[in-house]
Symmetry: C2
Subunit: 338 residues, 2 copies
């Protein structure tokens, strides 16, 4: 009897907010690794906002997902069978073969994960792509100086929580916005943000006046829309705005109203820069060493929102876009490293 | 009998587009220079878009004009009487004492103008603040590379016409937009732009597709609004947008709709930077030497729209905001250098 594995396919393209019917849970036999190949069982699947963009049929920096095909995304798993001398059975690896429980690989594109450094799940969060995103955007473009104010939106998310803590480590004041009282408390009480507020219950411009009394020197934008507009109105001279994501817009059909405050760019000589983490993998070694150090010394904290079972991946993704996570959103599909 | 001189005062703050009633032409006796002072007769008054901003009662990078007071702006004139050993009678000087025919100065803030280098009026245009604005924005932030496409709006204006010609000198392709057939012909036939179009009769996104077939690498923004939106949709990866002005918005009351295309900033990793020429006076010596060379060798051409008589200054300013000028808009109030 062949064992089966499960995977999630794109059943249809979402219009507006994704719904469960856009996804299909499918069963398939566990594939057999051929000569030179390995079989990997995923333990953690990454749930990321950028995946929403790939569900649209438009040209972007990565090609769109195809309807009927298995979705893709970051994943960490263990090699359970190897016919490739370079990859040992039992090894932990990171890949872009998420949204499925098992996969076969010839080893290309697999990154080794060392379970002795930190829990393997962190390779998808604080020590992985979201952490590097925060690091690249803040240190390369934001460049906060001691005493400056760094404001970050979606601050309780996988990227935002690293941004705020890194800003503090660099000697800046960290202010975050998030979408619930629980997240706000997490930011100030657990992560040590200097200030935080709930953008769903507070007026954005007013909250920024209150919590950024010296203005904003760096606005790390994860959400776009109203946040960007309000932050523009509070920028200090020569301020920097790394544009990392626009999660507030991802479920919209058609372009949204833009920031009305563009004149502030001029008056305050603001620099705004869109960036994508894949252009900055050269920073990875420096990032990994520095941030792993902060994590191990507990100078930097992280949280994960873990959902069990691949069948709950669509719900986890829908929930991520609705802001249901604190820290990195993950789906667990297999055992942890011992 | 004391001779009189004339000056323009701000009679009331414009609401929307300025009207003649916002200005008052006043007569006053020509002032007498005291010990250590000089009397200057202005020959050219500068007419600049940024002056509209100073007519609003809002905090900005320069303080607002006051109602009832003489307006200020760039001017070039000749010393007609001197009781200051450092400034000879007959010398040509540039000042911020525009909107008047005569003024007295202790010499502070006066810049010497050498009539042997170029016509003195150019100190307010191609070899002055507008030229330096183009130079700073293009060479410091735009940084066009050989073969890249530089798009500039308000291309037939004092700044835009230098931007496009400098871009070509740097080996880039220059494309400009302007508001009349006459201006478009001026750009392509006189200034050597590779392409130009009339934004009043053509659809902006369509015109950009046609005239920038390889996309836009540098968009030098003088106008904001629809132009910025359309250019964002056509930017190449790692494109640069120096934000120099937003003339399309200056007469609006309240913030206008913003660019809807902000997601393009992210997808194409675009950098947008607001700048103000007064932060870049350190570039002046390099600029003056380089651009005076281009002007004298006729590698760079310029045009001036000259209106005679200080009584026509309000009309010239209103006309500038309505796009009636080609090249630098000036008001002549005295004789030229011989």
């Amino acid at each position: 009897m062949t064992e089966t594995t499960r995977e999630i396919r794109l059943a249809s393209r979402p219009e507006g907010a994704p719904v469960p019917e856009n996804f299909e849970l499918a069963e398939a036999p566990i594939p057999e690794p051929g000569e030179g190949e390995v079989l990997v069982r995923n333990s953690y699947l990454s749930v990321d906002p950028y995946m929403r963009g790939r569900m649209r049929d438009v040209k972007s920096y990565i090609p769109p997902f195809e309807v009927g095909e298995v979705l893709q995304g970051g994943a960490v798993g263990q090699v359970v069978a190897s016919r490739n001398e370079a990859v040992a059975e039992g090894a932990w690896v990171q890949s872009l073969q998420g949204w499925r429980e098992h996969y076969v690989s010839n080893g290309e594109g697999l990154l080794s994960v060392d379970p002795s450094v930190a829990p393997v799940s962190t390779a998808l969060g604080v020590l992985g792509m979201p952490g590097l995103t925060a690091y690249a955007g803040l240190t390369e473009f934001g460049r906060p100086q001691e005493g400056e104010t760094v404001f970050v939106s979606a601050a309780a998310g996988a990227v935002g929580s690293v941004v705020g803590q890194l800003a503090r480590i660099r000697g800046a004041r960290a202010v975050g916005s998030a979408g619930s009282r629980e997240k706000v408390d997490f930011l100030t009480e657990e992560l040590g943000f200097d200030a935080a507020f709930d953008y769903k219950t507070e007026d954005l411009p007013e909250a920024l006046r209150e919590h950024c009394p010296q203005g904003i020197d760096v606005y790390f934008d994860n959400v776009g829309g109203d946040h960007l507009d309000a932050a523009l109105g509070r920028m200090n001279g020569f301020g920097r705005i790394p544009l990392c994501g626009m999660i507030s817009l991802y479920n919209l059909e058609g372009p949204p109203p833009g920031p009305r405050n563009m004149a502030a760019m001029l008056v305050n000589r603001v620099t705004m820069r869109g960036f994508i983490v894949t252009d900055h993998y050269d920073l990875y070694p420096r990032f990994a060493e520095e941030v792993a150090g902060y994590v191990n010394s507990e100078q930097m904290k992280y949280r994960e929102t873990v959902v069990d079972g691949i069948e709950r991946m669509p719900a986890a993704f829908i929930g991520l876009l609705a802001g249901e996570n604190i820290g990195k959103m993950l789906v667990r599909t297999g055992p942890d490293a011992p």
